[in-house]
């Protein structure tokens, strides 16, 4: 193995071991996006070191954890919680229940999905607040985003992309985490303007981020969604794979 290969392999090992902190750790995550060899080295070290996890004794999680997981995944059959219900009622999302029935399964299998969307509200507000802070110092005037959203799994979990919209209808998508994509798959971006029920395809996007321009027919406020599709994107004009991440963009003007 070359020196570079050795160096890369050790970096992967340090990352998996967990000794890298802060920017060093984030740099590895970013680099692994572009560097397949690093990505593979990380995967190999994950497997190599995993047996060490056996030295840690199992501890049963609290009994209320499963209901929480169920709730976050939109799996609970229970009625909407009081916390979620008013929010859902106030969301101008068309008639998701009807949609859910009409499509049957997948991301439109909708109660969980749409409930997840409502839950995103609070998180979004918080995340946008954080963005507002960390976006300082201000970029040049032409690039000032007028609205932004974090795209997170509809059923809860860590956000993966941030979308920043500019007045000229450009949307800049940047990954927040390292996005792994299986071979033969692509990510496709969709816009679902509030009040509408059929998402509009915005095209296949790169896992390392991309700038897209909204077609004239698409207006904020809207949901932005990223679905997992076969290579080349959906062939039907509707998401065929699951929606991995979604977020809400408020008005652009």
């Amino acid at each position: 193995m070359s020196d570079t290969g050795d160096e890369r392999d050790l970096l992967a090992a340090e990352y998996v071991l967990g000794v890298l902190a802060g920017t060093e750790r984030e740099e590895v995550i970013r680099r692994a996006d572009r560097d397949d060899a690093l990505n593979r080295a990380i995967g190999a070290w994950e497997i190599r070191l995993a047996p060490m996890a056996a030295i840690v004794p199992p501890v049963a999680p609290p009994a209320d954890l499963w209901p929480r997981v169920e709730q976050s995944c939109g799996l609970t059959a229970a009625p909407l919680t009081p916390k979620a219900a008013p929010l859902r009622a106030s969301e101008p999302l068309g008639s998701p229940t009807r949609l859910g029935r009409s499509r049957g399964r997948g991301f439109w299998n909708a109660v969980g999905f749409w409930r997840g969307m409502t839950g995103l509200g609070f998180g979004l507000a918080a995340a946008i607040a954080i963005l507002a802070v960390v976006n300082r110092p201000a970029p040049p005037a032409a690039e000032i985003p007028v609205a932004s959203a974090v795209l997170a799994p509809p059923k809860g979990g860590a956000p993966a992309f941030v979308a920043e919209a500019a007045p000229d209808k450009r949307i800049v998508l940047k990954p927040l985490e390292r996005v792994a994509l299986a071979q033969g798959k692509d990510l496709e971006l969709w816009a679902l303007p509030d009040g509408e029920t059929v998402p509009k395809a915005l095209g296949v996007i790169s896992k390392v981020g991309q700038t897209v321009t909204l077609p004239a027919s698409v207006h904020a406020p809207m949901q932005l969604m990223v679905s997992l599709e076969q290579k080349g994107g959906s062939t039907t004009g509707l998401p065929q794979g699951p929606v991995l991440w979604a977020g809400h963009i408020s008005a652009l003007d």
Binding site: A21, A44, E46, M52, A53, A54, C73, K155, A182
Partner: protein, 226 residues
């Protein structure tokens, strides 16, 4: 990019892992299926069965099978929560990490490649990265926050590794390291300590820690491949 947000990322195990890595699958976590917590400490010696079972459950999760998700939770939650608790050293943060990990598993099971296998290692990676992110963000957001001290491993901690063929090989190679180097690797992996935390804990210069760890990792790899 916003450092406050990048910390939330959880790296997924690579989907493009070569198939030959299957030989290193870890299998110590497979138990009898039904979710009886008392069975969770059992370890199966049959790695193929165990990893195949986890792989099967993940594949079913990817297709939206809730019963499979529940079975996976019953089977793995104590193991993963143990890891999260050890790294976060805080019951609330650990529950958050375990919660997030399972939500991520459900949402992203489609991204697990059954051909690659190593389902247990995949799950381990997800919860460890999540616990590391949560713990380090807490430290960043609360200057002066000190997680409670961790008890040191019992001397026979290494013995836990022999429950699978991979574990036995790893143990053998760890035992070839100097005891203090070996203990650094174990503290880093199990407790989630960074270079600088290890330096502080062991009162050793940072540069020395970094170089010891690099050399130990390189020896470990050579040993495992020999």
């Amino acid at each position: 990019m916003a450092s406050a947000l990048t910390g939330t990322g959880v790296r997924l195990a690579s989907p493009s892992q070569p198939r030959n890595m299957r030989s290193r699958q870890s299998a110590r976590h497979v138990r009898a299926i039904q979710g009886c917590p008392s069975l969770l400490t059992q370890r199966s010696g049959s790695r193929d069965d165990s990893d195949m079972e986890l792989t099967m459950l993940l594949t079913r999760c990817a297709s939206g099978d809730r019963a499979a998700f529940r079975a996976l939770y019953d089977n793995q939650s104590a193991r993963l929560h143990g890891l999260a608790l050890r790294i976060t050293r805080d019951p609330g943060l650990a529950a958050d990490a375990t919660h997030d990990a399972f939500v991520q598993v459900w949402n992203q099971a489609v991204r697990f490649d059954p051909e690659r296998g190593a389902a247990g290692a995949w799950l381990t990676s997800i919860v460890r990265y999540r616990a590391l992110d949560i713990t380090r963000r807490r430290v960043r957001e609360r200057p002066g926050y000190e997680p409670p001290e961790q008890e040191d491993d019992s001397p026979d901690a290494l013995a836990q590794l022999v429950t699978s063929a991979e574990g036995a090989a790893l143990r053998q190679c760890l035992e070839e390291l100097e005891p203090d180097r070996r203990s650094l690797l174990m503290m880093a992996y199990a407790d989630g300590l960074s270079h600088s935390e290890l330096a502080e804990k062991t009162a050793t210069p940072l540069g020395t820690i970094k170089s010891w760890i690099r050399r130990s990792l390189a020896s470990l790899k050579r040993c495992l491949e020999s």
